[in-house]
Structures are given as C-alpha cells and as structure tokens.
C-alpha cells in the first residue's frame, strides 16, 4: 500500500525536476509526465478499490504532529474518487494537448502537473489555511494555462478571471484569518466543532466573506462572468483539464467548508445561490450562439446544482454519494464535450450543422455525452439527480424540486438545440474535417465508455434480463455500424422474436395490463423490423437504437419499482428522440419532441417524487397514497402522461415528429410509443386516482379535466388532419387524435370506459401501424409525401390499396370492421357515466374522421394516375408482409371482438370489480345502454354485398372497362400544376367554415412561451458586461446584499 501522500509528493517532485529533465529532450519530459500521471491513476485507483472494499479512511499527518497542531490530509472514498478523476482527466488532457506548439515549452507541462497537485491538495487537506494555499496554486495554474493555444481570447478571459480570483482570495484569506482568531485553530474539523459549540459573535460577517470568496471561486451566479469567458476564450483541452481537476477540487473544498456553516444564517444563502445559478445559467445558455460559451454556462449551472445540494447533504437528507454521482457525471461528460468541441473546432453553434458526419463514432460520443449531461439514464447523472430529488422529496421541499426540474428543462432546450444542429444536414456536409489525432479521439472515447458505468445501476433498477439483453444487443449494433441495414433489421427481428418467445405465457399474457401492453410493443416491434427488411435504414445506428428503445420499453413494463419505471421511461424518450431525428428533416421536429418529452418526463418525475416523499417505492405501493399527496401525485402524473401523449394544449410537437420521423419509425411511434403514456395513465396514475378523487370529495372530479382534454385532443387533431396536404402529416394528426379517445376512455374510470380505451389501444396499433406502413411503401416508391404528387395508384399498388382500405374502415369505426366495436364501447361508457355532451362531441369528431380517411385513400389511390407513376411497382414484399400481419388481427377482431374483450374484461375486473358489459348468447354484446352483434353485422353486410353484386353482374349488359381519361367530362384532363390537382385543398369549404377555431392559438401560446423565455435570457445575460471591474463590483454588492439579508435577522 502506497502512502496517499505520494499522490501529492511525487507529481510535485517531478514538476520541480521537469525543467532539468527537459534538457534530455521533449520526449523525456513527455514520458516522465505521463508516467507520473499513470502512477497517480494506479495509486488512486488502488486506494479507491480498497476504500470501496471497506478499508479505513487514510489520515495523513504532516510535520509529525496530529491535528490541529500539524496539517493533516485525508483520503476517503470521496477523495479517492475525485483524485482518480483528476489524474484521469490530466492524463487524457496530456495526451490531447500533446503535439501542440505550446507543448514545446516545458513550462506548459510543469503547469499542468502542478495544477493536478493543487487540485489533489485541495481535495485532501483538512486545514483551512492550507486550503487557501492550494486555492492559490490552482488559481495561478489556471491563470497561467489559459493562454495555452489561444493567445488573445485566452489572455482577455484569463485576466478577468485573475482579477475576480484575486478579490476572491482576499475574501477567503480574510475569512480564514478571522476564523482563526475566533476559534484559535485552523483545522477544519476542529474549527467546525468550535464554531457550532458557540456561534461566536461576529462570525456572521466572517463566514459571509468566506462564502462570497468561495462563490467566486466556484463560479456561481452572480460571480460567474469571468469563468464563462474562460470557457469561451481558452483552449477546450485546457478547460477539460480544469473541469476534472480544479473545478472539482474547489467544489469539494466548499463541500468540506459547509461544516463551518452548520447552524449559521448562510445555509439558506448557499441553497439559494446554488439553485439561482442552476436556473439562471441554464436560462442564459439557451441564447448562446457559441458552443463553448454555452458549455461554460452549463458548467456554472451544474456547479450551482451541486452547491445547492450541499446543505442537504449536511442535514442528512441527501447522501454524499448522490452528489458524487453528479460530480463524476459532470466531469466525464463535460470533459468529453469540451474535447469534442476542440476536435470539431467550430466556435459558432450554427457551424455545427452536420458535424462529425463522416465520423460516426465521435457522433455517438457526442450524443452519449449530451445525454449524460442533461441527466438521462443510464448515465450516472440520472441516478444522482434521482436520488437527490428523492432526498428533497422526503425532506419535504416540493418547491425546490419544482425549480430544479424547471432548470433541468432549460438544459434540455440548449443541449438538444445543439444536437439539432448536429443532426441537421448530415447529408450536406461531406468534406473532410481536419485529420484526427488518435490522442484526441482516445480521450473522448475513453470518457464516453466511462460514462457507461451507470449501467450497473440500470440493471439493479430494472431487474429485467430481457430488457437488458435487448438493450445490450442494441448497443452492440450501434457500435457495429458496418453491418448493412437490412441485416441489422433481421437481427432486431430475431432479438425481439426471441424475447417474445421467452416471455410467452409468463409476462406476455393478454389478461393483464402489462401483458397487454407488452404484447402490443413486441408485436409492433416485430412488424416494424420485418418491414425494415424491405426499406433502407435511415441511419447507420438506427437499428441499434431501436433495440435500445424496445429494451427500455420492456423494462418499463416489467419493472416494479418507481425508479426502474422512470429509468425505462427516460431511455425510451431519448432513444425514440434519436430515431425521430434520424431522417433527413427530422432534426427540428425531434428537438421539439425532446423538449416536450423532457417536460413530460419532469412532470412524471414530479409526480413520482410526491409518491416517494410519501414513502412509496414500488408501483404497486402507489395505492397506499392518500389525501393531498395522492391528488398532487395524480395530477402531476396525469399531466405528464398527457403531454407525452400530445394531448390538446401540448400537442404541437406531435404532428411534426410523426410526419418527419423516418417512414420506418412512424408506425412504431404512432402505434406503440404513443401507447406508453396510456400505460402510464393506466398503471401508474390510475393507481392513485381513487384516493385523489375522494380527496376532492364531491365538489369537483378531476377526471372531468382529463376527459375534456382527451375530447378536445380527439376533436382538434381530427379536424386538423382533414386539412393536411401530406399523407404522413394527415396520419400524424389522426394518431394524436386517436390517443385522445383513449385518454377519454381512461378518464371515464369505469370498467366499460377502460375496456373501450384498452380495446382501442390494440386496435389503433393495428390499423395505424397498417396505414403508416402502407403509406411508407407508397412514399418509398413514389418519392413524395404530398397528395398532389400522387393519385390513381390503385392500379399500380393494389395490395397497398387493400391495406389502406381496411385500415381506414377500421379507423373510421364504420361497421363491419373492428373499429366500430371500439367506438361503440366508448359511447356506451360515456353514456353510462352520464357525460352526454362529450358523447355527442365524440360522435361528431369521429364523423369528421371520415373526411380525412376518405382523403387519404382517395388522394393516393383513386383518381387520375400520374404519367410519371406509370411504372411504379408495388411496395417491397417485406413491407406488404408486415402490413398483412396487421390485417389478419383486424379481421379477426371484426368477427369476434370478444377474443380481445374477454381478457380485457377480466383485467378491468381486477381493478374495478365486474363490468356492466355482458355477452348474451355467444355474439351479442350488451351494455347498460345498448347492444350489438358483430357477427350479425358482418353477415348482413356480406349477404347484401354478394346479393347486390350478383344482381349487378346479371342485370343489364356487361360493363366495358374504360380508361381513366375516358369520362363524360372531356375525354382529357390537362396536366395541371399541383394546385389544380383534383385532390388539392380537398376540404377547402370545411376549412373556411372552421376558420375561427383553426387560428392556432395553442402553437401561438407555445411560441410565446419560447419567445418570452428567450427574451428574458437575452435581457438577463447582459448582466455579464464583459468588464473585469464590473465583475469585481458584483462581488462587493453580493457581500452587501447577503449581509443586508443575513445579518439583519
């Protein structure tokens, strides 16, 4: 076992010797430098391993005396993690920065080495003045190193940073000196004990001075201006080094100092400043035009979050390891992002269009780092945020949770805004980037891989072998992008089929809500991957991400814990986001999708936090919630799921996302992903609906709101679908509208309503998947989504036509196909509940659905065939096969809805007791309001059809087939420009009639939200004037302001 002291002594000795070693040549310097850092990694890693294995914390004395007489240092688990991180970052940074011209100066290497020493000293020391010394070492190292590579901007930023840093160190030194005077000791632990024993008079102002000094060192609002300039101006490789060393070390220093603040009036100030930084820095970041400046704001925000959590760690509400997870996450991800920023080299955000187009591995790295940065699973930040929130929830801090989540949403906005640009126009930028050096790439890849250490926690949270296996195969596929797309689709098909095989009969049963949804998911995935055999993959990583998506959904359904559920939910969100973004025009809609999904996720998270605050751990335990907790949890969950389901008011993301996502993915998005909020409503939110409703008493029933939201969604989206000129957009609006029906059915909260909703879940998967697949085939062959460029394709693509015909009949709910049963159930349920107006309203909107159904089939398949489409072939066979895989169950359901209804009835009975729906005889379904007999209808229709057909064929002369142009009108239709196309603006009168309700108030609302927050960000960030003296003034004013608040009490 090596003494931890050597972690400081060895690099320091090497730093002293380096100028001499350099006489032997650059290579010697470099080798010695790297060897030293490697030594540090090994020793720190060894210590971490031992400490994690239960070894005692190492105490190191200096001068030969115990504290408080000598300075002592400590190496516990937290310290070991940070030291290891520092060495790792420094090692990779050394690789990254090698070959730079500046490296020819040995002083650069010396400074890098001493910077590590400074950070480790800060981390390990337990002496306050020693802390000051190491703060100075870190500070001077930073000032010196920021001129690396970028002379002018680095100088400017470095100078400002130095000015504020010097003021900060004056404050810190004053604080330290006065604290010594008050307590007679400089040892932190000793001092904390003495301070808390008796809050000595006069300690308030002193602690404040120290606090403000540390706020400046920590780069918190309002003193973060120079630090942000530093990110902007300095070489990104240097900033990555700083993130791993100095930044963490200063944070940990402050964490140690919080012991001094216990019981003082500044604890709240720490919390508030931290959270303020988190929110404000994130807010200002959304308007940044420069990548590295944005990253600077992000760093400041993250530090704010960490500092915010510290008082809660002191009070025991949050575990230190939670904060540790966030620190590790931030370090790895931010360093990777900075290196990537350096490799790409473009400073302007807009210059990132199509970045790394030719280097998929780096793009994967970028995506992973961004996902980790914003705190998505399976990366460490997610677990950290989760546990932090749980701590806050248990401690009863709902408002902090709210603000934290709002700030996190802002983070989503700018990080995914960045990715949006990267995904944008990947096709158009093909020219080679500057040649990559392996040293640069190694760092990015290494840190990206390290980020995956959260996967172990994912395994614990999920406990689902199937899900993990699926996701693992997905990751392999992402990395093995050489495999051709169709072969990958085959792998996906096999994997999903194997999963289905394994789960068959255990989880995969219809008589259970989870089983039902799981069946829907796996079936949908199989159909889509089957179709994938016939279409090119939109992106190399497409199928891998798809499998990750499927795995996350399986996990979400199978898991029993709230954490597992939410982890699955978030992975589902980001993987589907990646899939949506993988089409040519998908980046922008995908961005919107992600932001709204992020918001939805945070609402759900808020709801789960209320539950966790009430002591609930598992999904099953939700039922134990009562009273106000039940109500608020229910409201948050329902709202979150509603947003994710694109319910009216939050629907604006959906049509674009559906329409612009790859043709292969849209069926899954519409058929399966849109059902997951329903799963959430059904399993998670409904569990607490009863106590929530009873808490409100008779005064008001919150399900009314949900019902009308569902109703408005159904109506509004249906209406908008009517006016679309684009086949996929039409179906997109339709999909959202159909989910509205399902929400409405669930909101009824009766056996019949649930039966209706669940029936519709299955049915919608079938017919909407069918329609999207058929349209995908048409788009693939025709090369356009516009109605005006289609027409008359019935003769060229008859199989697709039949698919669409069956699909729209089922969709419209016209008897005799399966859709009618769904509509019938819904109306019966609504009548039973006594929601008469909604019943009529839904009848109306489902009739409007006829319009777009007709539009779809008419504009694509009927009418005049375009000359250019004379030789169009039928869609590829895998696509057709996939479609008919969906047709069969539709027909089966049409004949005997009971095959689905019976298991649904059973599972609904589990929740509600018996249903009013009964079967009379074998085929007639009877509810309290009405009845219908599916087989009788079918027979009636078939008999009539056959009879009439026979009549038509026998009566009168044999009809002669004539060409499409042989019509009474003229015999010839001039080739029209698209606006004269027979199907252009088909329902124009309808549009005119509905003009007043179509003004787009909702999108205007969200546009306003975006505009206002951007305006605030724009106005607010002027706070950072760029003038060094102003920043110093802020420090003084901060002292005065806090003194005014804190000392007045």
């Amino acid at each position: 076992m090596v003494s931890p002291m050597l972690l400081i002594a060895v690099p320091l000795a090497v730093a002293f010797l380096l100028p001499v070693i350099d006489h032997l040549g650059r290579t010697a310097t470099r080798v010695v430098h790297l060897a030293t850092l490697a030594f540090g990694i090994v020793v720190a890693g060894d210590w971490l391993y031992r400490l994690a294995g239960g070894a005692a914390t190492a105490e190191i004395l200096t001068g030969g005396w115990p504290p408080p007489f000598g300075i002592n240092l400590r190496l516990g688990t937290a310290e070991a993690v940070l030291v290891l991180l520092a060495y790792l970052t420094a090692f990779v940074a050394a690789l990254y920065l090698a070959d730079r011209e500046e490296e020819s100066n040995v002083r650069g290497t010396v400074i890098q080495t001493v910077l590590v020493v400074g950070a480790i000293g800060l981390i390990m020391t337990r002496d306050l003045f020693n802390t000051f010394v190491f703060l100075e070492i870190s500070g001077i190292g930073t000032y010196a190193l920021v001129v690396f590579g970028r002379e002018k901007s680095g100088l400017e930023a470095g100078f400002k940073y130095m000015v504020l840093g010097s003021v900060a160190s004056i404050f810190v030194l004053l604080g330290v000196a006065f604290l010594y005077k008050l307590t007679g000791t400089l040892n932190l632990d000793d001092m904390a004990g003495k301070l808390s024993q008796a809050m000595v008079a006069g300690s308030g102002l002193i602690l404040l001075l120290l606090l403000v000094g540390m706020i400046a060192e920590l780069k918190l609002f309002p003193l973060n201006g120079p630090a942000i300039d530093l990110y902007d101006g300095a070489e990104p490789g240097v900033m990555a080094l700083l993130v791993g060393t100095t930044v963490n070390a200063v944070f940990y220093t402050f964490a140690k100092m919080t012991a001094l603040y216990e019981g003082s009036q500044w604890v709240e100030a720490i919390t508030v400043v931290g959270m303020l930084t988190f929110v404000i820095a994130n807010l200002f970041a959304i308007r940044q035009k420069k990548v590295r400046r944005m990253l600077g704001y992000s760093s400041s925000a993250q530090l704010g979050l960490l500092v915010f959590l510290l008082p809660f760690v002191r009070s025991g509400e949050i575990l230190a390891s939670t904060v540790g997870l966030l620190v590790v996450n931030h370090t790895l991800a931010k360093a990777a992002l900075l290196w990537l920023a350096g490799i790409e080299g473009n400073e302007e955000l807009d210059g990132w269009r199509g970045a790394f187009a030719t280097r998929p591995l780096l793009r994967v790295g970028l995506v992973v780092a961004v996902l980790a940065m914003v705190g998505l699973p399976p990366f460490p930040g997610f677990w950290g945020k989760w546990h932090a929130l749980v701590g806050l929830a248990r401690g009863g801090h709902p408002w902090w949770i709210t603000i934290l989540l709002l700030g996190s949403l802002l983070e989503f906005v700018y990080y995914f805004g960045w990715l949006r640009r990267v995904f944008d126009g990947i096709q158009e930028r093909a020219e080679a980037l500057r040649p990559l050096k392996w040293t640069e790439v190694a760092g990015v890849v290494g840190f990206t891989v390290l980020l995956f250490f959260g996967v172990r926690m994912l395994g614990e949270a999920w406990g689902s072998v199937a899900a993990l296996a699926l996701a693992a195969v997905g990751v392999v596929l992402v990395l093995a992008s050489v495999i051709p797309g169709r072969m990958q689709a085959a792998v996906v098909l096999l994997a999903v089929a194997a999963t289905a095989w394994r789960l068959w009969g255990t989880q995969l049963v219809l008589s259970d809500f989870r089983g039902l949804i799981l069946t829907v998911v796996l079936f949908g995935a199989m159909v889509v991957s089957l179709a994938g055999l016939g279409l090119p993959a939109p992106r190399k990583s497409y199928w891998g991400v798809f499998l990750i998506l499927v795995g996350s959904i399986v996990a979400m359904i199978e898991t029993t814990s709230l954490l597992g559920f939410f982890a699955g939910w978030e992975i589902m969100t980001w993987s589907s986001y990646l899939l949506v973004s993988s089409s040519q025009k998908g980046s922008r809609p995908a961005f919107l999708y992600m932001v709204f999904s992020g918001g939805a996720g945070f609402l759900v998270l808020g709801g789960l936090m209320v539950a966790l605050g009430g002591g609930v751990q598992t999904l099953a335990g939700l039922t134990t919630l009562t009273g106000a907790a039940a109500l608020s949890a229910w409201a948050l969950l329902a709202a979150g799921f509603a947003v994710k389901a694109a319910a009216w008011g939050a629907h604006i993301w959906a049509p674009d996302a559906y329409a612009e996502s790859p043709d292969l993915f849209t069926p899954f998005l519409s058929g399966v992903i849109s059902k997951l909020p329903i799963f959430g409503l059904g399993v998670v939110a409904a569990a607490i609906a009863a106590p929530a409703i009873s808490y409100l008493g008779r005064a008001f029933d919150p399900t009314h709101i949900l019902a009308w939201v569902g109703g408005l969604t159904a109506f509004g989206m249906t209406l908008l679908a009517v006016f679309q000129e684009d086949a996929k957009r039409l179906l997109a609006y339709s999909s959202v509208g159909q989910v509205g029906y399902i929400i409405l059915g669930l909101a009824v909260m009766s056996p019949l309503g649930w039966t209706a909703a669940l029936y519709h879940v299955v049915n919608h998967l079938l017919f909407k998947g069918l329609l999207f697949l058929a349209v995908a085939g048409v788009i693939y062959r025709v090369g356009s989504r516009q109605f005006s460029s289609m027409g008359g394709l019935i003769k060229r693509m008859p199989f697709s036509f039949v698919s669409v015909l069956i699909g729209i009949i089922a969709l419209a709910g016209v008897p005799p196909l399966s859709g009618f049963a769904g509509k019938w159930l819904l109306y019966e349920a609504l009548m039973e509940r006594g929601w008469l107006l909604l019943t009529a309203f839904m009848m109306f909107s489902s009739v409007i659905a006829f319009l777009y159904c007709f539009r779809l089939i008419h504009s694509i398949f009927l009418g005049q065939l375009k000359t250019v489409h004379r030789d169009v072939r039928e869609a590829p066979w895998p696509l057709i096969t996939a479609q008919y895989l969906l047709v069969i169950p539709i027909l089966v359901l049409s004949v005997r809805p009971r095959w689905l209804l019976d298991p649904l009835q059973r599972l609904v009975a589990d929740r509600f007791g018996s249903s009013t729906l009964q079967a009379v005889g074998d085929n007639t379904l009877v509810s309290s309001f009405g009845y219908f007999n599916a087989i009788a209808i079918l027979v009636l229709v078939i008999v009539l059809f056959v009879g009439l057909l026979i009549f038509l064929l026998t009566a009168g002369p044999r009809a002669k087939k004539v060409g499409p142009l042989d019509i009474v009108y003229a015999g010839e239709v001039p080739p029209p420009p698209e606006e004269l196309h027979y199907a252009w603006a088909f329902f124009r009168p309808y549009q005119r009639a509905f003009q007043p309700v179509l003004r787009g108030a909702v999108s205007a609302f969200w546009r306003d939200v975006a505009d206002v927050s951007e305006a605030i960000a724009d106005a607010g960030r002027r706070f950072y004037t760029g003038n060094a003296q102003t920043y110093v003034l802020y420090a003084f004013l901060l002292v005065l302001a806090l003194a005014g608040i804190g000392l007045a009490r």
Binding site: N130, E136, A144, L1040
Partner: protein, 234 residues
Amino acid sequence: MKQIVSFLALATLAVLLWNLAPIAMPSDLGPVASHYVSHGLQENRGSNLVTSVVVNYRGFDTLGEVTVLFLSVSGVGFVLRRRSGLKVHRQRPASEIITTGARMLFAPTVLFGAYIFVHGHLTPGGGFQGGAVVASAVLLLILADRDLVLPHAALGWLESLSGFGFVLAGVVGLVVSGSFLANHGIIPLGTWNRLLSAGIIPVIYVLIGLKVGSELAALLDVMVHAADEGEAHS
C-alpha cells in the same frame, strides 16, 4: 456611475468590517498557538517559533508556498513565451562604475542572504528573506549589465534540485516516522540555540532559501529578458 457605486459599496464594506468583524483582541492565545508556544521549544529545539511553525508544524503550507512561487515563475515564462508584439526596451549601457560596483557588491549580498537563511531557526528571517536578498544580488547584476547572460543551466539545476530536495525531505520524514515533513528521528534535534540544531529545520530552510533565491532570480530574468531574448529556457 459605476465608479460611484463601487466606491460606496467598498466604503460600506469597510464600515461593516470595522463594526462587525471580531477585531477586538482576545484575552489569551488560542489552543493551537499556546501549544506551539509551550511545546514548540521541546518539539523542535528552535528558538524562532515562527520558523518552527513555518517549516515544521505548517511545513506543508510552506511547500505549497514554494510551489506557488515556482508555478508563478513558470506561468510568467509561459505567458511571455512569445516575443511577438512585446515592447523591447533598450536602455543606455550602465556606466563602468556602476558595473564594477555591482560586481563587487554581488558576493557580499549573496553571503548575507545565505546567512539569513542558514540562521532562520535561531533569529528572525529565514529562507524567504534570505532568498529575496540573494535575488536582489542577481538584480544588481542585471541592472548593472543589461547584456549579462545568467548561467541558466546552473540556476535551473539549483532551482530543480532544491525543490526536489524539499519534497525528498518530506518523504524521508514520511518513511522514517510516518508523517510527511516530520522532524524527529531523522537528524538529532541537537542543542538549543546552536547553528546545527532544530533537526531538519535548517536543512529545509536552506533548501527553501536556495529555491526562493533561484526562483526570484529567474523571475526577474524572465521579466526583463523575455521579449528581447525570446525563451529564457529553450
């Protein structure tokens, strides 16, 4: 406007400090200080308690301090590593008298500095003060002869080895008595008030003196010569 606000803010701050900070004198020494005062003599056998504190009790701080100096000299060199745009200032060559005088003064000054840091554990002064005096001797030479080229290699070796020696002394303490920079069991503490007493303290203070002296000399050298000579070290 900003100036006025700054002025007022600072004035308020000063008043606050004056009124609220605990500036009144305590009745007696704090616990740590009393320990140093009462046990310092036995434990380190040096008359100068400040030196005991600086080199032994808080020796780790001093190592950090030396590091700061080292780092800032490296930093100055690094910041000024490019000559482009730097103002080259030429001055008249110094007169013969000054040059000669400076050369004559050089040796006594260095000796004086050495005296200060060798006696650091006994009398006021020590490595830093002595080092500064040594550096001022170098300054004299630089002032006297602009074109003087310092023996960089020798200075560099001195700088590196003295720093390394300091760390090594600490590690020796670690090995011998399990505590970094410990002062017992390495060299006998000796008799009080002798030059060769107080254990390892004078050794370390001499190393510090050499380190600081060479460091400050290098600093002056870099500041003066950076532009017109380019890189001080290759």
